[in-house]
Amino acid sequence: MSHAIRPTWVHATILGTFCAGFGIALALTDDITKAPIKERALEDKMNSLGQVIPRSIHDNNPVTDTVKLPNPKVGGHGAPAETEIYRATKDGKIVAVAYEYMASGGYGGPIRLMLGIAPDGKLLGVRVISHKETPGLGDKIEAAKNEWITRFTGLSLGNPPAEKWKVKKDGGQFDQFSGATITPRAVVGGIRQGLEFFATNSSRMMEKK
């Protein structure tokens, strides 16, 4: 394959033209997809909130109604300084709040939980957002793999009593799964602390904007 040697400006012009052309095309595509992508991101958030707060009980979009509280120290490990509290309202009245809580003590590091809590302190739902537990052992905390995590729905700090907020091996009431104690122990502890966080901060979570 032979090719003539051309002056540099020829190459530069060619490259420049292509860059410009594709730049414009990309800008156009970005413009077209911007709105749908934003919508999807919102949907994602709503979906994950929807798992811990039933859609039927509220009529707002909790993603847009938030307050920020300082993150409790526990759980540490790179958690942001503030926790975003999502609030679900019906007819303007708060019917549930949801927030992320970092459970410490997992086998592979902290476990991110999403808790949905009714104003009376009752759990509407809990989900694990992300974790690094041993595949096949600890990952049964995912709702997709096991229904274990759904058993917390309806419980609160007083129910069961504080000394029973433990896995069975530690004398509490929650099952651990066979072969793995550490992960459920961390999750149970995390949920309990998450509820305590609600108990101490509920007024600030509920206050009107």
Partner: protein
Amino acid sequence: MSIVIDKSGPFTHGPNNVSRTMFTVLAALAPATLYNLWLFGLPAIFLFIVTMAACAVCEAACVRIGGGNPDRALGDGSVAITGWLLALSLPPWAPWWVAVVASVFAVCLAKHAFGGLGQNVFNPAMVGRVVVLVSFPLQMTSFVTPKPLFTPGSPSLAEAFNITFGRGFSLDGISTASPLGFIKTELSKGNPVSQSIASVPSIGDMMIGFHPGSMGETAVPLILLGGLFLMWRKIISWHIPVSMLATLFLMGTLFNALDPARHAGGMFHLLSGASFLGAFFIATDYVTSPVSKSAQLAFGIGIGLLTWIIRTYAGYPEGVAFAVLLMNALTPILDQHFRPRVFGRTRKGEPLPVRGDK
């Protein structure tokens, strides 16, 4: 009289051969194995038989597919070592299919896919163990406290059969963590090592094997005895075991001194887990370890270091198998870098300078 002149000398040959070497290793393993089979009872015996048989079948099948002679391949004893070490590195009450899957991966994949005896890069037994450890973490981390044969707690024949071959047998009620696992769990609960170490079996109990663990992880003195026997028979040299154990001990002691709440001591690291089995019988595997002595030292140090790191920071409580496999991958490089000095040459391979005035 048929006189042959087909090759160069020498025309006398030492008495050793491959199968003699292999069977010496098995002999060295025998006391610890017998003791452990007694310690963990009938299920352990079943599992041992299953593992050995599965490995032998895999070997015969692979050799036959490759067009070789299965009898000769089985006769050299290498697969017996693989099966034996594999059995020793499984929890004694693991179900049969764990052993079978491990055997298939060990023999077919780690050994024969690489070209058979002498060609494999990774230690077959450890590949088998790691595959099942990663695949079946539940079964692979369910240990039982020793229940010696002929003692009241030992399972009967029927029970033992159910443990090894039964489906859905649950160890939940009786399973416990190995000392390494226990320390790790306690640490994750926020209990410092300095406190939890008080609850693990005493050094004495650890020595005689009365603690939960894989078969080969217990009975340290007998393993040590076997290792010394191998050194005496010149099957292995001291380089890998000593450098590995010394590194592990030093790391343990050093970090324990720096932060006793976070790190277990050197003695604990030495006596728990597969430290001794790994040092004397697994890391020293001929095929997958370096050939020159200085490279072997580096290899041992690497395993010791990685074992300590994995035990301390990684997701699994025991790291010998992973450490060995990782260093296996480095073996060719170590061999390249640590060649012995050639007679009459400098380390760089230049001829030595002639002494000026002499």
